[in-house]
Point group: C2
């Protein structure tokens, strides 16, 4: 039975985006954000929405740069931790023992232990209410060689990213099995229809 | 070893968003989009980025409304199909045998067979280059009662959403197992640190 429900921001799956920034004092910070996604292909852009209450919001406003780091499943506790505590009060890199490495392209830190990261320069900022959407142009990426496929692209089966189940489960998940090839299994379906 | 790579729009995981719209002639259409995510909590907003070449782009411009339908894993072929073929040339609902149902709140169709959908009115449109980002305010949701948790929220373990592995695998995946509770496992980690 279909039910009508009040509006909820429960997108399934939601990604686990670890946003890296520097403060005006050069101190690196990371936070866990789930509100974001790819925004465009050309130029390549990614968006992340943050509350003005966060240190990351102010850091991005000041530096005009951020990284989006994708944690592998073995770092799900660290990913959760950096979403629970405030960067103004704690040194999240130190407490998690994660290592900040300055991006060669932009003014923001990369999480060394995570399999790959987007290096972004802020291009647009859209105030939507409680959250401000920051759109960053992806100017480069950094990845562990072990998570790349033969074409040097991050492979989901090697990255083993974390999914957030959002408010309906309040839990993290890993990826399961392969269902089928994209831009391919649909053709199969089309053929089934045509054959009728 | 960390490698520097050219910019790529490979976010892991990427969601599978099935965008529902009506044409000016009232014909329902659906397309598969991966560029999008939650944009803000208050007001609740979701974004999806589309190319001007798509019928959905023009439909949203005309109607100012769209749905974001979340397919369950058993519909991965249908989801792929509606991303391969063009709405101007084919009746995607008819060919997939999916059923359009008009939203009670907005001027866009819901995919009856999919477990839940967001009902959105367009509030902002941001031209980024090849893609235009449409930000919709979520004014309501529709869900199958079977995919809800006791608090009437969509539960990822019941929804069984599809993940897209993006360009590194060009394949769809399902969700795996639970890693741990959000806003919780990080505290455990924090305690481990404090105990040192």
């Amino acid at each position: 039975m279909k039910l009508s429900l009040p509006a909820q921001t429960i997108l399934l799956p939601s990604p686990v985006l670890i946003i890296g920034t520097y403060g005006s004092d050069g101190r690196p910070n990371i936070m866990n954000a789930a509100w974001g996604g790819i925004a465009s292909s050309k130029p390549p852009c990614i968006s992340v929405s943050l509350r003005a209450a966060t240190l990351s919001y102010h850091n991005i406003k000041q530096t005009g740069a951020f990284t989006v780091n994708i944690p592998s499943e073995k770092y799900f506790k660290e990913a959760d931790f950096v979403g629970i505590v405030a960067g103004r009060e704690r040194d999240k890199f130190k407490e998690t023992r994660l290592t900040p490495e300055k991006s060669k392209l932009i003014n923001a830190p990369i999480v060394k232990e995570f399999p790959y990261a987007f290096e972004c320069n802020l291009v647009k900022q859209i105030d939507l209410g409680l959250h401000t959407m920051f759109i960053g142009e992806i100017v480069g990426m950094v990845a562990d060689s072990e998570v790349l496929n033969p074409n040097q692209l991050p492979d989901i089966e090697k990255v083993r990213p974390i999914l957030w189940g959002s408010f309906g489960s309040m839990a993290y998940y890993n990826i399961g099995g392969k269902l089928g090839d994209a831009f391919s299994v649909g053709n199969e379906f089309k053929k089934e229809i045509t054959d009728l």
